[in-house]
């Protein structure tokens, strides 16, 4: 288990302020946040490149706060691969083993690791001659060959094109399954979360804002920042009452969680049903409104509905065409109470 305990670190414009996280053995843990949130600094502090200004780091029970990077048994893979350009792929992968053992042993380990990443045929090439995806595979192999107790990935897919990114994403899932290594992966791309993460932490400005499973983060954000980051387009200010409903303007919305007093309500635009005909209630929230605008956007259609407050509904084209709705039409909206998540208003509320 990797425990980051109240770690602070200031490095000029980037910093960590009192960050605490714990990552389980074998977990695939993703840290998500915009540029400048302190994600890379967090990884580099875990890896031992920086010593924290305050706080402790524990790896499998051992306090490694003051252990130098080379003795931590933590692997690091950067977005830009950082393969040593003057060495072949083989020498890159074997780099960390060089001082340890006999050539035959190294050769065996390197080949094993290269095979795991499907780059066995590239061992004699130099990094400059490889594609981005191949370089990233080599960088991962170089880290894995050391059999690290934790593997840190710094936006490993960001520098790759769409196709390669998808392949390597699947590859990462496979490798995680095959090796069982604890992985901490940082990214600003929400897409990676659903395919890979067991749990996610959302960071912002050096702070961890929320931690949870992808589903939790996605459906139950704890702040406007997280809600905006995961694409919840319907954010309403309201007043919670004791009976589990929230008053938003003239509407009363049944939400999955109840907080009395001023609250924010978040409803995902994909979780709202839209119809010209009345919808069966079935315990759902039902709202009546008028279509303001219809914006086709790629394969999706974004519909804006005025129902006292402005609702945004996202449908597929196919789904939209079946509703037969046009701007100006009166429509019925329905969403489950579990689709309406309530959290205290204001920025940066802690979980």
């Amino acid at each position: 288990m990797l425990v980051i305990d109240s770690v602070s670190k200031s490095l000029g414009e980037f910093s960590l302020s009192n960050v605490s996280l714990s990552v389980e053995d074998g977990e695939y843990f993703i840290v998500l946040g915009p540029t400048g949130a302190g994600k890379t600094i967090l990884l580099e502090t875990i890896a031992g490149i920086y010593t924290p200004d305050a706080g402790r780091i524990l790896l499998n029970g051992r306090d490694i706060t003051d252990v130098p990077a080379r003795e931590r048994r933590i692997g690091m893979v950067y977005q830009d691969y950082m393969l040593f350009p003057h060495l072949t792929v083989e020498a890159n992968i074997g780099f960390g083993l060089k001082s340890r053992a006999d050539p035959a042993f190294i050769r065996g380990k390197v080949e094993e690791s290269a095979d795991l990443l499907n780059i066995g045929h590239l061992l004699q090439r130099y990094p400059g001659t490889l594609s981005g995806g191949e370089q990233q595979r080599a960088a991962i192999a170089r880290a894995l060959v050391m059999e690290p107790e934790a593997l840190l990935l710094d936006e490993p897919l960001s520098a790759l094109d769409v196709k390669t990114r998808e392949n390597l994403r699947a590859e990462l899932a496979r490798i995680h399954e095959a090796t069982g290594t604890t992985i901490v992966h940082i990214t600003h791309n929400f897409e990676e979360v659903f395919d890979l993460a067991d749990r996610v932490a959302i960071m912002r400005g050096g702070d961890v804002i929320q931690v949870g499973t992808p589903e939790e983060i996605f459906r139950r954000p704890n702040s406007d920042f997280v809600a905006g980051f995961v694409g919840v387009e319907n954010l309403f200010c309201g007043t919670g009452s004791g009976d589990g409903t929230v008053a938003v303007g003239d509407l009363r919305i049944r939400a999955e969680n109840a907080i009395p007093g001023p609250v924010s309500v978040a409803i995902r635009p994909e979780e709202i049903l839209l119809s010209k005909t009345p919808l069966p209630e079935n315990g759902k929230n039902v709202v009546i409104g008028r279509v303001d605008s219809v914006r086709p956007n790629g394969g999706l259609v974004r519909v804006s509905v005025d129902a006292g407050v402005q609702f945004r509904v996202t449908l597929t084209r196919q789904g939209f065409e079946e509703t037969g709705v046009a701007p100006g039409d009166a429509v019925h909206l329905a969403f489950r109470s579990s689709a309406a998540h309530v959290y205290p208003p204001g920025e940066e509320e802690e979980a």
Binding site: I49, R72, G75, M82
Partner: protein, 248 residues
Amino acid sequence: NSSYFRMATVAVALLIAAFIVMVLVGVVTHSPPAVLIECFLSEEIQFAIRLSIITSVISTLLCILVAVPVAYALARYTFPGKTVMNMLMDIPMALPPLVAGVGLLLFFGVSPVGKSLAAAGLAFVFTPLGIIMAQFFVNLPYMLRVTRSTFQGVNPRYEYVAKTLGCTDAQAFWRVTLPMSWNGLLAGSVITWSKGIGEFGAGLMLAGATRMKTETLPLSLFLNMSTGKLEYAIAAATILIMISVVSL
């Protein structure tokens, strides 16, 4: 029309290029080839060539030896005095070598440190050793600049990765940063060497201008101009021009 401006600036450029080439070619073609070759083969010029090469190679090696650790410290670490250090590296862009030579002369000739060095057999004043010291002192900041910017050009994350793969700071430098810096170091060394060959002012002050003793190529040029032996001066100048052109 838009191309007038272009033509005007290019014309000035070509004019200046022509002027520089004419000045250099004027030197090389001044003596008849036979005279030039005779001078090349004279004992004095041969001595100057040998002394120049020996001193410049040694001073370049010293520059590399000192510049590599210092430049690495400047590129990677923060430490007290770093700002001053970086400023000192800018001074030689403006400090005349002649002044550096006077400074070295006073340091090695008058100061207690210099006197005890001389007593220990390390005499820099009016000796070939002084030439090496003069070249080293004047060229070190240039070598430092090149080396520092070379090291700065190597992303420190290469070293971070090396450390997570089991390297100490020194191993990470030796196995990663240094090999990635060869080209920059080589280019810097060549410039340093060729500047060392041409060094005049500081050497003149510290090592003096003694014929056949501290007579490097620039000092030979100076001595022979002073005594009116123009063809020897031209020979020395021609060799120096060739070295400059080749070392580019």
